[in-house]
Point group: C2
Amino acid sequence: MSSETADRILEAACELIAEDGIDEVRIARVAQRAGASTSLVHHYFSTREELLEQALVHSFEQAGDERFGAEVGSGGAVEILAAAIRDSLPYPGGQEREWVLWVELWLRAVREPDLRPVAARLYDRYRRWMADVIFVGVESGEFPAGTDVDRVANLGVALLDGTGIRALLDDPGMDVEAARALVAGVLAGELGIDPKRLLA
Amino acid sequence: MSSETADRILEAACELIAEDGIDEVRIARVAQRAGASTSLVHHYFSTREELLEQALVHSFEQAGDERFGAEVGSGGAVEILAAAIRDSLPYPGGQEREWVLWVELWLRAVREPDLRPVAARLYDRYRRWMADVIFVGVESGEFPAGTDVDRVANLGVALLDGTGIRALLDDPGMDVEAARALVAGVLAGELGIDPKRLLA
DNA sequence: TCGAAAGCTGAACCGCCGTTCAAACTACTG
DNA sequence: CAGTAGTTTGAACGGCGGTTCAGCTTTCGA
């Protein structure tokens, strides 16, 4: 089912989706980048739609593994949370590519309910990852006992998405530093710590 | 420049963008819905790209006028804010169409920097509208003096976007009611009022 | 060693759709 | 009425690109 070649094709499709957007992806280009012919692409993926859907899913499973698969490392929970905020925002040269794919998935999933479980699964990992970070802080006493971990995690995810999209769009009213300050400020307030400690 | 017919064509294009997504919009369909021929469409809009861009902009200027153009009405600031939260979320049968267009603009603007000012302008109106609502509350003493109005307004916008997108995607971890509760809870905390008052 | 199945290719097909073009119809102006 | 500018149309063009097809090469088990 999943041969070496099929993977190469899928990988090429992922790259092109990230670069040009789903609708700009042409089978000939995918084939070219994968070092194959268009016929070969059709040999593994009977239709363009099928190829693109599998590529999207594959792309996000992989991205999710990279971002949220790692164990919450050692070190203070505050530092980990600060790093999480920084690494989640679309800093130029940083997570911009992931953000573009993220928005692509949003739109696609809005139109195509089949894709919604993929998005939901990613959000679930995202939220759980952030909840883990916060939970560690509560356990270690850095954050107040009785903190509603899930609520704060959902809050963090929502804030990162809501500010990050504006930063990604170069909104002068919300650049990436302002986004970071706002997220850090609100989360620090919820967790009873000094906001500066989340901006390290 | 902007004749009766051109407006009809633009209107038809807007509808189709909302229904099927920009990339699915076909000139023949636009013409059909506008009661015109494809040639006539090209008479007013020399290229497809030009038509779609103008349609998008037109669509959002209009939507912005409807949503944020009205003066902040009379009544308590708390009630106005509660209504703002409710009306901004993608309740089924409510603002869903606007949300879809919103996401469409996000993706388009990410790919096409020319569109970013359009998005920035909309965000500006959105944020200012929310700031006005909060400002009224501060003036009337319903919210604490010294409230950082712009900060809370940005927070509100980010929370609505960040939770709303998940609700729109039918994420089981964040339905529209949970989104509303989270937004209301956080804003109530920032404004020193009872969260229940924002859920009326 | 033979033959079938899988991997792979180039070339051609063909439908969709943006775009163009020449011409008709209308309306207004001198 | 003549002329001109603005509308509107049907029909056709042209190419991009997904898909198909017939056949070549490689692999591998009997």
